[in-house]
Amino acid sequence: MHTTEVDVAVIGGGPAGLAAVTSAKNAGAERVLLIERDERLGGILNQCIHDGFGTKVLGESITGPEYAQIYIDKLQEAKADFCLNTMVLDLTPEKVLTVCSAEGMRRIKAGAVVLAMGCRERTRGALGIPGPRPAGVYTAGVVQNYMNLRNIMVGRQVVILGSGDIGLIMARRLTLEGAKVECVAEILPYPSGLARNVVQCLEDFGIPLYLSTTVTRIHGTGRVKGVTLAQVGPKWGVKSGSQRFVECDTLMLSVGLIPENELSKKAGVALSPVTGGAIVDDWFQTSVPGIFSCGNVLHVHDVVDYVTLEAEAAGRSAARYAAAGSLPSSPIKVKPGQGVRYVLPYQISGEDAVEFSLRALAPEKDRHVVFRSNGQVIRKMRELMVAPAQMIRVKLRADRFPKEGEITVEVTE
C-alpha cells in the first residue's frame, strides 16, 4: 500500500476539523490534510439551516450552512489540503492512518493528528424504550438530515422525546412544513434546551412541553401508531396512573449525543468515562503524544462557536508538535470538585492562559465558579444561573497557576 507523509492530519471536516486544519496551516505546518468521509465539508452544519450560530466568534447570528461556508472559505484561503469521500479505517499510536476512498487505499504517516470526528446521537436501542420495533422511530438529527438535505418528510404526526436543542429546532421545522407536533416530553423537571428555543420553537407554535415525562412504550408493529407517555417521580420511577396514549406516526428522539471515539480507541487514546471523549491537557493533546482532540469528539458542545475556538487552539498545538516533536509537559492536574460534572482540560502546563470548559451537575440560580489550588482561591466568578446543558467557559491567566499540584473547580453558593 502506498504511503504518503503529512505534518498534520485532521480527521473529520465538520466545524472542528475545518478550524483545526486551517489554524494548523496558518501556524506554519506545511503539509496539512483534512480527511472527510462525506461528499462535502461542513459536517452537521450543512443540515442545521436554522439561525443562531456565530454570536460568540462572529458577533452576528447566522445559519449553519453560512457558518460552514465562512470556515470553508478560510480553509481555502489558507490553502489547506482536504479530501472528501474518504474514510479513515485505522489509526495507530505511531500516527499512521489507513484511509480508504474510491481512488484506493493508502497509508498516511502524520507528524501530528487532530481528532475531529464529532459525535453520534443516542438511539432507541441505547435508551431501551419498550415495545415492538415499527418504522417511524427516528433521532432528531436523522429527521433533520432527511428534511433539509434530502427533501424527505419522515412523518405527519410527531411526538418528540427529549427537549435538547436539536429536538426543539426540529419541532419548529416540522410544524412549519406542515406536520403536527403533538408534544415534547422531557424526563427531567426542566428543559434541556435553551430558553430561546423553548420560546421560539415551542411556545410560538403552541406545542406543549411536558416535563418529568417520558415515553414508556412504543405502539405499532409496521409503522408507529402511538406512544404511551407517563410522568416520572424522583429517581425516574413511573407514577402509576399517569400513563396515557398519544396517537402519532413518528417518535423523534432528542436524547443526547455520544462522542464518536472508535478510531481514538484504536490508537490507544485514553477516554473519560464522564464525557466519553479523550483526556486532554491544555494543548488539547491526548494521552498519545502528537494526537490531539477537539470539538464534539472531545466533549459535546452546545454552541458551535466554542468548537471553533477549541479546534483553532488544537490546530496550533498540532502544528507546534509537528515542528518540534514534543510539547511542554502538563504537570498541573485539574479536578472537578463539588457541583461540577467535568472540567476540561484535565491537566495543564501552566505556560499560558487557559480557557477552561466545565459543566455543572444540576441547574441552580446564583452560583459561584471557584478555582482553588493548595487551599487558596485563585479565581471566583458569579454566574446568574448554571445548568448541565450549558457549558461554562472561564479563562485564567498563567500567573494564577501554581507551579505544580492540583487545581479543583467547584460550583458553589
Binding site: 445559519t63 453560512e66 430558553a195 423553548v198
Partner: protein, 121 residues
C-alpha cells in the same frame, strides 16, 4: 395588562411577570437583569422572528437550498412567509447571500440563500 413570559435574551431564561398598557411596558418582575426590558417590550408590542426554510433547486448537487429572511419578520406572518415560499424554486448554481425573493410579502425582508449549491449537468 399582565402576563407571564420567558425572557430569551440569554441562557438564564428568566420566567418574568410583565405589566403593560396599550402603549408601553410598565413593569417587569423576577428578571435577573435589565436586559429583559427591551426584549419583553418587543415580545409584547412587535414580536419578530427570522424564518429559515429551504426551497427546491433545479440542476443542483442536492435537491434543496436552505434560505432565510435577512431580517426578522412579524411573528404572526411566519406562516404566510412559509406559504409564499412553497411556490418558489431556484436554478443552480446558488451562492450564499443570493436573493431568492426580494421584499417577501412586502414585509421589508428578503429571502436569501444560505448555502452554496453547485450546478450539475
Amino acid at each position: 395588562m399582565k402576563g407571564e413570559l420567558i425572557c430569551a435574551v440569554c441562557p438564564v431564561g428568566c420566567h418574568v411577570t410583565a405589566e403593560w398598557n396599550e402603549t408601553d411596558l410598565l413593569d417587569v418582575q423576577q428578571a435577573a437583569c435589565k436586559l429583559a426590558w427591551p426584549y419583553i417590550r418587543s415580545e409584547i408590542f412587535d414580536p419578530r422572528r427570522v424564518v429559515t426554510s429551504s426551497v427546491p433547486v433545479v440542476g443542483g448537487e442536492i435537491p434543496l437550498v436552505s434560505v432565510k429572511t435577512d431580517s426578522p419578520v412579524p411573528k404572526d406572518r411566519m406562516r404566510d412567509v412559509m406559504q409564499s415560499l412553497a411556490q418558489v424554486t431556484v436554478q443552480a448554481p446558488v451562492n450564499v447571500g443570493d436573493v431568492v425573493v426580494s421584499n417577501i410579502l412586502g414585509l421589508g425582508a428578503n429571502i436569501r440563500a444560505t448555502k452554496r449549491i453547485k450546478k450539475v449537468s
